[in-house]
């Protein structure tokens, strides 16, 4: 028997979920062992060199105010910031950054290494050790055994990873990286059901040889807004992206070579991400389209490569070359790393409870791509939640969950454990039914107190936020109390094409004026010589303009809480309910929802099923 060391928590995998899953409990005072296949690829961005985007940007900001790392890492390495959806309303404003891939990895590893409660070891985990239905440790490939009170699996695409480039396939989790096959077998033995998913990535090309002269240049925002509450300034150089398009010639090349595509010849059995399809899927599925957009993204400040976002593919190398050469600006491009697809095992997430602990093995947690999600941000969000809950579990404390109306993280985890994803799950704003209150401007209001509670957000940050909040509240009160005369307000209202205040009215409060659609915080400031930093002005503006919606959301949440209070007894017998279809019974038995509210979101469960449940639960089961 080789060495046996004891830790509080073992985290398997050093990706975006693993980083958060290790840091959170370490910061809460736990001894954490992080096992990874390769220390050199901790924090690797395996796909796009970018963080955030629609709904994903929300997740990053939520993880940040909980005391997570992804926002800080993104800010330290961002080479471009863009706020997407600026014109479509503050609830869907979504920050996104382009990042320096190499730097990201570097700062991620440093963050882990600087945390003294974390030990990092490069070993392949092969077996989860169990005692009385509880995870107690890990056995590695070289025969070491590590004991711990809780295990968090954040294995990404590495479980039985199978790479595809054309009709060639070979074991691996990322390009030129080994995969983990033994752990899958161990999980199956424990009674955990595994499925198979597929994801793909785009080719990367040498910077020289790309002719951007005729391409649209996409610069970042002039005044970048950082992800993290901790970041004050962005100092590193900012880089542009370029936009090009596929054309009929490209599509023809793809069509002609589908017989060499692992996707279209049955080589790949895993289900791919519907919302992030490969270029061959786009061409086949939308055959009437003659063009698809391609973003040429910088790999980093010193990097000699570009990433081609929108061209994920697993076609053979020579086809990838032909395809690229048919695209404007890429006629001379040289592929440095081909696109590829990877198939991997995942845990059907319906086997997890709301704290991301598996139902069959206690103290075993899963987070990230292993749960069927896609994206760094989704992974980080689960990572921090699994990490916090692992720490709480071993301390025998109340677990931590977020509601759907509190955070996108709440929506994400509830969807996973309730709806049982069968394709890679990606976060969208449309999945959040309380979208109007899950905004990035109020993220600290929503969640920072949890970060403070669990000791993940230090007092300085907590204090800084509390001060800001007070300043906002006081300003809003002042806006309500300050009435401006028509002669002061009207010139500005006229300029902004708003109806003027009638002379006989005597005046209107700044609060009411700010509610008008064309009026922004600067206009108000001009009426009253107010001076406040830009970010507070924006937050105030949103809170004032959204006041009515926020009230309505709050009312509907109150109603929801009633359903939430209808808890379903743990061993509730669905078989006895006459009127429930067999399908509904089997779904309910699979998910075993905690509340009626959760039950109502299970696919295939109808409102009348919920009424039946309600009637039976009231009766006492």
């Amino acid at each position: 028997m080789a060495q046996t060391a004891k830790y509080d928590i073992i985290v398997i995998g050093g990706g975006h979920a693993g980083i958060e899953a290790a840091l959170a409990p370490a910061r809460m005072g736990c001894d954490v062992l992080l096992l990874t296949l390769s220390i050199d690829t901790i924090g690797q961005m395996s796909c796009n060199p970018s963080v955030g985007g629609l709904a994903k940007g929300h997740l990053v900001k939520e993880v940040d105010v909980l005391g997570g790392e992804i926002g800080i890492l993104a800010d330290k390495t961002a080479v471009q910031y863009r706020m997407l959806n600026r014109s479509k309303g503050p609830a869907v404003w979504s920050p996104r950054s382009q990042n320096d891939r190499a730097r990201y990895k570097e700062v991620a590893r440093k963050a882990l290494e600087n945390e003294h409660n974390i030990v990092i070891k490069q070993e392949e985990a092969c077996e989860v050790l169990i005692q009385d239905g509880k995870a107690i440790g890990i056995r590695t490939k070289i025969g070491n055994e590590y004991r711990a009170q809780a295990i968090v699996l954040t294995t990404g695409t590495f479980l039985n990873g199978l790479m595809h480039i054309g009709l060639n396939n070979f074991p691996g989790g990322r390009l030129a990286e080994a995969q983990a096959s033994h752990l899958s077998d161990s999980l199956k033995k424990l009674g955990i059901n595994l499925g198979r998913l597929k994801t793909g990535t785009s080719p990367r090309i040498a910077k020289e040889g790309v002719n951007v002269a005729n391409l649209r240049v996409q610069y970042g925002d002039e005044r970048p807004m950082p992800f993290s509450f901790c970041t004050e300034y962005i100092t590193q150089e900012q880089l542009p992206c370029y936009i090009t398009h596929t054309n009929e010639r490209t599509h023809e090349i793809i069509q002609k070579n589908l017989d060499r595509s692992p996707l279209y010849t049955g080589k790949i059995i895993g289900i791919g991400p519907r919302y992030c399809p490969s270029i061959e899927t786009k061409v086949v599925r939308f055959s009437d389209r003659t063009s698809h957009i391609v973003f040429i993204e910088p790999e980093g400040i010193d990097a000699g490569e570009f990433y081609l976002n929108g061209l994920a593919t697993s076609l053979p190398c020579d086809v990838q070359v032909d395809m690229l050469h048919s695209i404007e600006g890429l006629e001379e491009a040289e592929i440095t790393r081909p696109g590829y697809a990877v198939e991997y095992d995942f845990v059907y997430p319906v086997q997890l409870g709301p704290h991301l602990e598996t139902k069959v093995v206690r103290n075993l947690f899963c987070a990230g791509q292993i749960n069927g999600t896609s994206g760094y941000e989704e992974a980080a969000a689960q990572g921090i939640m699994a990490g916090i809950n692992a720490a709480l579990k071993i301390r025998d404390e109340k677990p931590f969950t977020l509601k759907r109306y509190e955070a996108y993280i709440g929506v994400l985890i509830d969807d996973l454990i309730t709806k049982n994803t069968v394709e890679p799950y990606r976060m969208f704003t449309s999945l959040a039914e309380h979208r109007l209150i899950l905004r990035i401007d109020n993220v600290a209001d929503r969640l920072m107190h949890y970060g403070v509670k669990y000791g993940l957000v230090d007092e300085d940050r907590g204090q800084k936020f509390a001060n800001e909040r007070r300043e906002i509240d006081e300003t809003i009160e002042r806006l309500k109390a300050t009435v401006v005369k028509p002669e002061i307000a009207n010139p500005i209202l006229r300029e902004k094409e708003e109806t003027e205040i009638p002379q006989e009215r005597g005046g209107q409060s700044l609060f009411q004026i700010l509610k008008r659609p064309n009026i922004n915080y600067h206009d108000i400031a001009r009426m009253n010589n107010l001076e406040l930093p830009e970010y507070i002005g924006t937050r105030i503006e949103i809170e004032v303009k959204y006041e009515g919606y926020i009230k309505r959301e709050e009312e509907s949440i109150e109603k929801l809480k009633e359903l939430e209070r209808e808890r379903i007894p743990e061993n509730f017998d669905y078989e006895n309910i006459r009127g429930l279809s067999n399908e509904a019974k089997s779904k309910l038995n699979e998910v075993r929802p905690v509340t009626l509210d959760q039950a109502s979101r299970i696919q295939g469960i109808s409102p009348s099923d919920i009424l039946l449940l309600l009637l039976h639960i009231k009766k006492g089961g």
């Binding site: 709904a55 014109s87 309303g89 979504s94 973003f295 969208f428 109007l436 009127g579 009424l611």
Partner: protein, 448 residues
């Protein structure tokens, strides 16, 4: 309440009748029936949707209770979606009670109000609007109300709501795509088109709401006021329309001091007919309270029938009354055409109905005129709403759709459209709201 057990109730009114129908629903409905029902003919087993003649025999004592006809319906092809038995026995309350008691003894439970329909709803056989329509079909007070209730039961209103829902969903699909895929160049939101589409949905809802006023009236009845000076024949017309002598008629003017109200079905409409009698007459004098009540009567009336005496020239009192109600919905009536006509045909009386309340001449014309005035032909196709619940819901949907047009940003446009969808769900019962459903079923009688 539970859906686990088998329920039983008498579906026909209490009291003596030629037959009574007892209904069972639930998984043991057929089993229970077989225990006490001896088939008159020899069959291997009962078939669904067939009636069988036989005898009800009390299980232990072998005592014959009645000769009955029994129909079997197998789940899910029944009213409730469960196994259902309908048993027609002789309409003696003693027999009914006896049979129900036997079923209860076997393990059935007496159904609660509306429980059969509630089960149909919970089993997905009908939606909430249809469940309400069942109630309205049973209690329709007039022919027009019954026609409306059946249209709702057939799903005509539900279908309109589902159409509305699918239109909103189509819009949301585009909006959500535009919100969640801002960088895809094939996601284009045409704001003008969006506006136009939302306005079209509002127009549909407006049409329904417009017809709702009539729909509710059809169900609740119209208030129709008979007015005219003393001795013009108001009470005679009142009795004529009712079809019996409700009011004592005297030659002496001002015989009836108070007003009298009766319900009657005229041309398929429920009419609350009011004989204003002593009101609006000289006899009323300057009594202030009576004055106020008269004004209130006019205010509340859906239709005013102003009568003139054709056998006498028009006097000041006639003109006074005409001026009082000339802006209201009204029908002018010239009575006593069986006598010599002395009334000058002036402009205002040209479209009047000329009749004799006493002989009944032209009464049918009056009845038809009442209906045509109350329900204009062009409104008919939009009359589908009959309940305040429906109207409230549609008003809300309309409000949210209006809000969506005024929303400043796309995220809030989407919010309002989602809010409208939620209300449609509550209206049809697709969004489970136990409070709403309980309230509706409180109105039901047992056995339905």
């Amino acid at each position: 309440m539970s859906l686990n057990d088998t329920i039983v109730a008498c579906a026909t009114p209490a009291g003596y009748s030629s037959i009574a129908v007892i209904r069972l629903s639930g998984k043991q409905a057929i089993e229970f029936t077989k225990k006490i029902f001896q088939l008159g003919e020899k069959v291997d087993d009962v078939q669904p949707h067939r009636s069988y003649y036989g005898t009800i025999v009390e299980p232990d004592r072998n005592k014959v209770i009645d000769k009955v006809l029994t129909a079997f319906f197998f789940a899910p092809h029944s009213y409730t979606g469960e196994d259902v038995v309908e048993l027609s026995c002789h309409g003696n309350p003693l027999i009914v009670e006896n049979i129900i008691n036997i079923f209860v003894h076997l393990g059935a439970r007496i159904a609660q109000r509306g429980e059969f329909t509630k089960r149909a709803l919970l089993n997905g056989k009908i939606d909430l609007i249809q469940a309400e329509a069942v109630l309205d079909t049973v209690y329709a007070p007039c022919d027009e109300a019954r026609t409306l209730a059946i249209a709702q039961y057939e799903g005509k209103l539900s279908q309109k709501m589902y159409d509305c829902k699918s239109k909103i969903l189509d819009l949301l699909a585009v909006i959500e795509a535009s919100l969640d895929f801002p960088e895809e160049d094939d996601v284009h939101l045409d704001n003008v088109q969006l506006r136009h589409d939302i306005e079209a949905i509002i127009a549909d809802i407006d049409a329904l709401l417009h017809g709702a006023e009539i729909g509710v009236k059809i169900k609740e009845g119209y208030k129709v006021l008979i007015m005219g000076r003393a001795n013009v024949g108001k009470s005679t017309l009142f009795n004529r329309l009712l079809g019996y002598d409700r009011v004592i008629v005297h030659e002496e003017p001002g015989t009836t001091r108070d007003y009298i109200e009766e319900g009657v079905q005229l041309s398929g409409l429920l009419i609350r007919l009011i004989d204003t009698a002593g009101f609006f007459t000289e006899a009323q004098g300057t009594d202030r309270i009576a004055q106020e009540r008269s004004e209130q009567l006019i205010e509340e009336a859906d239709l005013i029938m102003l009568m003139f005496d054709g056998s006498e020239p028009m006097n000041e009192r006639d003109v006074f009354l005409y001026d009082l109600v000339k802006d209201r919905t009204m029908i002018l009536i010239i009575n006593k055409i069986d006598l010599n006509m002395h009334l000058h045909e002036s402009e205002i009386l040209s479209d009047s109905v000329k009749l004799s309340a006493k002989t009944g001449q032209n009464i049918d014309i009056l009845k038809q005129t009442i209906k045509n005035v109350l329900i204009p032909q062009f409104e008919r196709k939009n009359i589908l709403l009959t309940r305040q619940r429906h109207i409230d819901a549609l008003e809300k949907i309309k409000k949210y759709l209006h809000n969506s047009l005024q929303a400043q940003t796309l995220d809030t446009t989407a919010y309002e459209l989602h809010a409208a969808l939620e209300i449609i769900g509550e209206l049809t019962g697709q969004v489970a709201r136990k409070d709403i459903i309980d309230k509706i079923f409180e109105e039901f009688c047992i056995g339905k």
